[in-house]
Symmetry: C2
Subunit: 179 residues, 2 copies
C-alpha cells in the first residue's frame, strides 16, 4: 500500500471521465438504465452522483480546509444526491468531464505543498481529517463507483451466464450496503 501521492491522485482523477465515456456513451439502456434492485442505482445515476461530488464535495471541502481548518465543519455531503439533468447519458458524461476538468484546474491552482496536505479539517460525522485524506478519498471514490458500475451492469446477466456464474467474482460481490 502506498502513502498518498498528489501526482498519483491527479493522474487517476484526470482519467476517470474518459474511462466512463468510453465505457458508457451510447451503450444500450439495458446496461445503463438497469439496477440491482429497488432503491439501488443505475450507471446513469452513478454518473449523476459523480457530478454532484464535483459541485459540492471535493474542491469545496479543500477550500474550507485551506481557509478555515478545523474551525469550520464541512457541509454534509448528501451521498444519495445526484445530478440527473440533462437526461441523456452523453450529456451527463459531458457535464462530468467539464466539472472534473474545472475541479482539477482549481486543485492545481492551490499549489498544495506538503505542509498543506497535513492541514486538518472537520468532517461532520468522521471528525478530524486531513487534506491528504480528502484527496486520496476523491480518487478512491472514483474507483468505488467504477467498481459499482461494473457490478450493477454484470448483475443484468446474472441468469444469462448460466453455470459460469461460479467463476465470475463480480456476481459474488454483495455491494456491502454501500457504493
Amino acid at each position: 500500500m502506498a502513502p498518498h501521492d498528489l501526482d498519483q491522485t491527479i493522474a487517476l482523477l484526470t482519467r476517470t471521465p474518459a474511462a466512463l465515456d468510453a465505457l458508457l456513451r451510447d451503450l444500450p439502456d439495458a446496461w445503463t438504465r438497469a439496477r440491482e434492485g429497488d432503491d439501488t442505482w443505475t450507471a446513469f445515476d452513478i454518473v449523476g452522483h459523480l457530478i454532484h461530488g464535483e459541485q459540492t464535495d471535493w474542491i469545496p471541502r479543500a477550500r474550507i480546509i485551506l481557509q478555515s481548518g478545523e474551525t469550520q465543519t464541512f457541509d454534509s455531503f448528501d451521498r444519495q444526491a445526484r445530478e440527473s439533468e440533462p437526461a441523456s447519458m452523453g450529456r451527463l458524461l459531458d457535464a462530468f468531464a467539464r466539472a472534473r476538468s474545472e475541479s482539477l484546474r482549481e486543485l492545481r491552482a492551490m499549489h498544495l505543498q506538503p505542509v498543506d496536505l497535513e492541514r486538518r479539517g472537520h468532517h461532520p460525522a468522521l471528525g478530524v481529517v486531513t487534506m491528504s485524506e480528502l484527496l486520496a478519498t476523491w480518487a478512491v471514490h472514483d474507483l468505488t463507483h467504477l467498481h459499482q458500475i461494473s457490478r450493477v451492469m454484470a448483475h443484468q446477466y446474472r441468469q444469462a451466464v448460466g453455470p459460469w456464474s461460479a467463476y465470475l467474482g463480480v456476481l459474488h460481490c454483495a455491494g456491502h450496503g454501500m457504493p
Copy 2:
C-alpha cells in the same frame, strides 16, 4: 435482470478496450503495477489475462460449439495464464484492442441466429453450457475484471483515505477468492 441479447453483448465487448485504455494508459506504475497481496494480480496482469482470453477462450469455444456441439469438450482455459509481453502497459492495451477487434469480426461473421444461441457445448468442469451462456459470460468476464482493477487500485490507498474508508464500498470488497 435481462435475458441474453447478442447486440447488447457486442455493444459492451466493443467498448472495454477503449475504457481500459482511457483508465490505464500512462497511469503511474504505483497504480498499475501494484497488487492486493502475494499471488494477486496487478492491473497490468489483468490486461494480459484479457488478451489470453481472446486468444484461447471465447471465439475458440464458440467455434467448437458451432462445429462439434457437445461431442467435443472445450480445452481447459487456464484462468491463471496471462500474456505479459510486450512489457509496457501501452503495448498490452494495443494488443488487447487488436485481439478484441479480431474476435468481434469473427463473431459477426458467424451470423449467429437464435437457434445457434441455443446450441450446446461441453465445458470440462461445468458440463453442458450454451452458446448464449458463453457469450454472456464473455461480457461479464470483462466486467468482473473491471471490477477487479478498480478494487486492486483502490487498495493502494486503503490507509491514505483515513476514516473515509468506512464510506468506500470498494475497500470492503474482499475479492471473494476470485477475480
